[in-house]
Symmetry: C2
Subunit: 242 residues, 2 copies
DNA sequence: TAGTGGTCTAGACCACGGG
DNA sequence: CCGTGGTCTAGACCACTAA
C-alpha cells in the first residue's frame, strides 16, 4: 500500500484519506474487517500512534467501529451516499429501511447571491455576484418527498454539467477535493408556496419543514448552503449525534 | 493540582473531567487561557501524550480552542447552560442574542413507560414500569416558546424534588455524575392539541415543530428522552455541527 | 496462547506567535 | 529568541477475543 508522498499533509491524514477512499469506493465493504494496526504499520511504515490516529479520525466520522480484541470494522450505517446529507438523513415513517430513494434534477443555473438574504454573508461575497444553484427533487418509492436546493461558490460552476443524480458530496470530494467539516442547521416550519405545492403534490399552504444547512469545508472555507423543503405527512427528519 | 486516583478511568479522562469541571464552574472563565501542556504535565505528572489527549477531548466538546504558538483557551460560546439542549439551541428570530429565557416547571411525576410508544424500547424496560417525567415551559421575554417534556429512568426520581428551573444537564452531572454523550434527534411538524394551544398561547391546530432527543450517556446507558413542542412563528431551531 | 485494540511513556523535531 | 501547540517515533504493559 502506498500513501501519496507528494503532499505536505500530516501522515495520519494521508492514511485516513486513503482508508476513507477504500471504504467509500467499496474496497472495504460494509461490516468487513480493516487490516489490523500491525498490518497498517507494515504497509505504510508509519508508527502505531500515527496509524491509530488515522483510525480514530475515521471512527469520529462513524465510518468504522473498533472492538477490542477483534479489530476495526467498516460501519454498517450508510455513508455519504445519496440518502444522507450533512450528518442527517431522511427516514420515512412507513418504509423506514426498504424504501427506494430516487433523485431528479429540476434546475441548475448561476444565480445572484441575494436570492437568499443569508447567502452573501455566508459566502463573503457581493450580493450581485453569482453562485451555482442546483435544485433537485427527491422521491421515496415514487412519491415526492423533498425539494433540495444547493448553493455553492462560482468556482464550482463545473457542477452545472455534472451528473448529480447521486451524491453531491462524492462529486465534491472526487472532482474538487473538498470535504464537509462543520457548520450549522436551521429548522423551521414553512407553508407551501404554489411551486412547492406543485412539485411535492400537496395543498397550497400545507405545513412543510424547511431545513437549511450552512456547511464549511475542512479548510474553514464556505462550501455550500443547502435548503430542503420537506413533506411532513409521510416522513420525518432524523439526525445522529455524538 | 490533583486528579483523583481512586477510580479506574483512564488518566486522560480523569484530567479531562477535572478541566471540564473547572471550565463549567468558572475556575477558568470564558476566553481565559488554560495552563500550557508543559504546566499540565508538571501539575499532573502525566506524559505529554496523555495531557494532549485530555485537551483533545475538550476540544471535541467545543469547550476549548487551541492556537498554535499561543495556547489553549476556553471557548467563547455558551456551554451546557439552561438555554442549550443536546448540541442544539433555540434562537429567536427577533431577539436572537438579547432575549431573556425563563423556565417554569409545569408538571413532574412518575408515569408508565408506555405514555410514548418509543420509550420502553429505548429504556429497555417493561411498558408498565415507571419513568420520571418532567414538563417545563420555556419563555422568551415572557412569551411562551416551547413545552419541554423529559423522561428519565426511575433511578432519577430524586429529580422530582430538585430545582429544575436551570439546566437539567448540570443537575445530572453534579448530582448523578452522568453526562450526555450521543444519541439522535427527530424533527417533525405537529399540529397543536388543546393543551398545547393553551400553554403556548396559539390557535388549536396551529403548525408546531416537534423535536425529540434520544440521549445516551458516556457509558452507553439510556439517559433521557426529551420532547420539545415549539412555536414556529417567533423562533427557529438552530444546531451547530462538526 | 496468540492476536487484537486501549493506554501510557519519553523523547524528538517542526511551525507558529510574540517579545 | 523562547514558549507554544502539532506531528511522529519506538517501545511498554494491559484487557479482551478467539482458537
Amino acid at each position: 500500500m502506498h500513501v501519496r508522498e507528494t503532499t505536505s499533509a500530516p501522515l495520519y491524514r494521508e492514511l485516513a484519506d486513503d482508508l476513507r477512499d477504500k471504504i467509500l469506493t467499496g474496497v472495504y465493504p460494509r461490516t468487513s474487517k480493516l487490516p489490523s494496526e500491525a498490518e497498517l504499520m507494515q504497509d505504510t511504515g508509519f508508527s502505531r500512534s500515527t496509524v491509530r490516529r488515522a483510525l480514530a479520525t475515521l471512527a469520529d466520522e462513524h465510518l468504522i467501529v473498533t472492538e477490542r480484541g477483534r479489530g476495526a470494522f467498516v460501519a454498517d450505517t450508510p455513508h455519504f451516499d445519496e440518502t444522507s446529507h450533512f450528518f442527517g438523513s431522511f427516514t420515512a415513517q412507513s418504509a423506514a429501511q426498504g424504501g427506494e430513494l430516487t433523485t431528479r434534477t429540476v434546475d441548475s443555473a448561476l444565480v445572484p447571491a441575494n436570492v437568499l438574504p443569508e447567502l452573501p454573508e455566508f459566502f463573503c461575497t457581493a450580493p450581485q455576484s453569482n453562485l451555482v444553484m442546483l435544485t433537485r427533487l427527491r422521491y421515496l418509492d415514487g412519491t415526492p418527498l423533498c425539494i433540495e436546493t444547493a448553493y455553492l461558490p462560482e468556482t464550482f460552476s463545473g457542477l452545472l454539467e455534472a451528473d448529480l443524480d447521486g451524491s453531491l458530496y462524492q462529486v465534491l470530494r472526487e472532482q474538487f477535493g473538498r470535504m464537509p467539516a462543520g457548520g450549522r442547521k436551521e429548522f423551521e416550519v414553512y407553508t407551501a408556496s404554489q411551486r412547492d405545492a406543485f412539485l411535492l403534490d400537496v395543498e397550497r399552504g400545507a405545513a412543510l419543514m424547511l431545513v437549511t444547512d450552512f456547511v464549511y469545508d475542512t479548510d474553514g472555507q464556505p462550501l455550500h448552503v443547502s435548503q430542503r423543503i420537506m413533506r411532513t405527512d409521510n416522513a420525518k427528519y432524523v439526525e445522529q449525534i455524538g
